[in-house]
Symmetry: D2
Subunit: 308 residues, 4 copies
């Protein structure tokens, strides 16, 4: 089951559940995996930035992938971004052998010119092997690398194994329109575009041509609904549901505390046992927790899933 | 009427209205000034980043301040950030002579260490004169300068003329709590904290101790209401109104197209005659305009002011 | 006398001499202008980054240009970089009317993609007028903007009035070779390439195809000699002279204190009356001064001009 | 043999020798280790930035350390910088068990405020264990993190196991003076300061109070001589030797091609078998090679070691 360019729906970004002391919590991984499948996701991405990937040792990373792949019946994509190609290749080989569907690669934050970005992905693809499907992660806010639409087109056309864009540029709506325009004018083959950035613009991204979401908002079940409603053309219903969640989406999208918010809500929803982050990574303040509780209580008036 | 540290309410950030050909539109300035006053703002800030200040010649800047000050009965703050102190001092002297209440200063994006930031504000205050009240603009997303709470405290304690913080760090809630904590423990005198970043977190910022808003969202009348409701402890009502606007707030908060959105809505509300930006600055795409129209139509169901 | 693409030799970057209290020192400007002409420069650039341009008011900038142009018989280029096009156009019009030969434009440090850089120069040229010759300043270390050789080619081919590159990328030797390669393969018309970065690589830059230097090292007379020797193919002599100066070149090339070093040596050489910088800008420490004195004493054993 | 705060002399930064196909070249490692010892180094640092550490897999890193430690009779420091503490701790434990003398830690390039930097080193030290001596790598040009002298003092005073500063800030002379001033005024305990940045300012750094060099310039034997001469107060001789090498030092100090220059010269000196870099990493152009050859030929007139 390899990742392909016709992927759609919700590829949820999975956090990594830890015990309070920082050890990986395997039974929470299992419960979380089941929860995602019941929520209707069409894929999962593990070991992304918000999966705390850089805090994991190689062996731990492999064991997480093994556990999730073994329990899922949907494609599992693995984040393999690394400062060097040796570690990237090593992790890719191990996880593809375990049944991963493909890998996700973010650019190192030192890249500046268009040519440097294009060349990086060419070398990365060569390093992991041209048969391994890969996802471009386009997240300038975190990685400081700006990819113009024409650069993404060059990467797509250079590398047959590039099948998906994790789109989280901000602002980003015109970028989706530009890329779909390239497909229409025949200058770029079709790729799957799934959007991230905690779904802050998912409502309009779907209307601009996205195929779904690739993010980890604490209500992936809502993401599944919005993507479905939007794909069915039920615009107002999609926005109504989305807007009800927007106050919490916005709160969780904050860089820094966002992941702690996500884990806290997943804990309150009974999905994971603890909201602990590995160091370095701060816990929510009591004030922040009570703000999240308030947002959940308000949301519960419009979406019963928020009654926790 | 000089700006003081007990300022509260809404200091609206005023855009600069242009004719389609880029000339300053003076009658729109007048209409906009009146509109702000009717909306209940307690102050105005002109020539900020979103007032397109860097695109103005010195003489133009002065004429705008003269016009707004002459028509207002509330304090007018003027953005005077500049690459060098000579231009900053020149503009400050001219606008204070015209009756401005104070000035706003953003840090140059080359500053890195705590000490360098503190020293910059000391030199800036010396350059403009210790009798001119000033506002710190703390907006790392745009200026790439991170000011820890302790750095803001040092600036406040170093400079008696520092009376306000335009708080738009992101995430920023804990920063407000930290600064108010300094006031409580006696290590920092009181300053006014008004929040920006297009009000994306105004609901909770008020609850953390902010004195109001200092931003230019296209419904300043809503900002006035939320600040009032929150100050009165009518929490749910404040959130209800805020949440109704959040889909549009989020859309307008996008760096880049955000100002075009703001001007487009103000034009549709009849406040300014044209939504033109000076170059460099792109117009909204047709797709973006229709998205804003859709957001306004949805908002109108819950706030009659959006019926445009 | 307009700047043209066949410019060669040394366009010295002129500092702005101040009195100790920060006022412009006009008689030092005159003496410095004469000194440059006697040193054999073929042009001068005023109001660059190291001319402390951002610390000047508009009127001051104009008066400096007037003074230098009035006293010189070589082309005078003026730095007009500004955060917005209004100020850039205003200064350009004023200085061209006074007889400047052209202007120099650095990119704002927010530009990221190739397309954004190309577009910026197109808009800038439109703003100042297509009849005004301009110089691209390519200095990533200071401006954080990386221009690939292909981007420079696009700017040159887009804008007939682009006649010169102030090359100070680092590393930069391969960039000169690439640009001259474009000229040879017919994909780019010829432009003048003068190199900056305090001449740290002038020896090899000349051999790679540069037309000369465009920098402000405190011995412009040495730059003139090295450019001449290199153009005459007297390679070893060029390197011998260059190497004798390299310890001081390196010391002066430091970002931050570099300008203070330059002014200190020019003062010791009797060219300007004071080594004062405008604020913000620190003086040399006593330790640094004595290090410069030591370097001068060592240099004097091999170049009599260093006997000060 | 643990690293201590009285370390002095030259801790050479070792490159990692590869075969042309990218495999580690073990016999070159041995030859290089012997060469360094014969050159008179007092320590070695492996797996630094210019040891291509991020391109290595964990197992490879460990094997390199094992080989070098097993062959040396001087302290071996290991670069363990990593995006997360898990990998940092894992590598530290493995190499300390093999007999490494300490580790070197560079800050992640996302750190901004003073407090964030101080906290990072506190957490890093806790992660690797308070009994492991560590070196602060202060290299803003590469890591984008600015550490004020006061921040280094805080790290030193917070962590008893912090014993050395690899000083490569630029400009950096005043920083050495400031730190030694802290020691004199009793506000900071003594640490070893060894300087990097390819020795571009080694001549004056020694005079400001550095204890030696910690860099990988292709003539470590020259570094040993300059450090010795300077420590003996033979100022002119130290500068004479240093100046003879400066044209090549400057050429090798270029970010990007610098490492290829270093490996090329070490290959020409017979120390390593190939100048290959692992991908991503470009080879020298023919023009660059001939420039280095020319610099070596010129140097050979003054230092016989350059006759290769």
């Amino acid at each position: 089951m390899k990742l392909a360019s016709d992927a759609r729906g919700v590829y949820v970004i999975a956090p990594t559940p830890f015990h309070a002391d920082g050890r990986i919590d395997e039974s929470s991984i299992d419960r979380m995996t089941d929860f995602f499948l019941e929520a209707g996701v069409t894929g999962m991405t593990v070991l992304g930035q918000l999966g705390e990937a850089p805090k994991m040792e190689h062996g731990e990373s492999v064991s997480i992938v093994k556990r999730v792949v073994g329990r899922s019946n949907v494609p599992v994509v693995v984040g393999v971004s690394a400062p060097g190609f040796a570690a990237m290749r090593a992790l890719t080989q191990d996880v593809m052998a375990l049944g991963a569907a493909g890998v996700m690669i973010a650019p190192p934050n030192t890249l500046r010119t268009d040519e440097a970005i294009v060349q990086y992905y060419r070398q990365a693809s060569e390093a992991i092997g041209g048969d391994v499907p890969f996802v471009i992660q386009d997240y300038p806010l975190t990685f400081s690398v700006q990819m113009a639409p024409g650069v993404i087109r060059r990467i797509v056309m250079d590398n047959a194994s590039c099948v998906m864009l994790k789109h989280e540029d901000w602002p980003g709506l015109e970028k989706i329109s530009a890329l779909r325009g390239y497909e229409r004018d025949g200058s770029m083959r079709h790729i799957s575009i799934l959007t991230g950035n905690n779904a802050l613009f998912l409502d309009f991204e779907m209307e601009r041509g996205a195929d779904g979401a690739n993010t980890g908002y604490c209500f992936p079940d809502m993401l599944v609904d919005v993507v479905r409603l939007s794909a069915q053309g039920r615009r107002d219903e999609a926005h109504d549901l989305f807007d009800a969640h927007l106050p919490l989406i916005r709160y969780e999208q904050q860089p820094g505390p966002g992941l702690a918010v996500r884990k806290y809500v997943l804990m309150r929803r009974g999905v994971i046992a603890s909201d602990a982050l590995r160091k370095p990574g701060a816990a929510l303040s009591p004030a922040a927790r009570s703000e999240v509780d308030y947002l959940l209580a308000r949301l519960a008036r419009r979406d019963a899933r928020a009654r926790v």
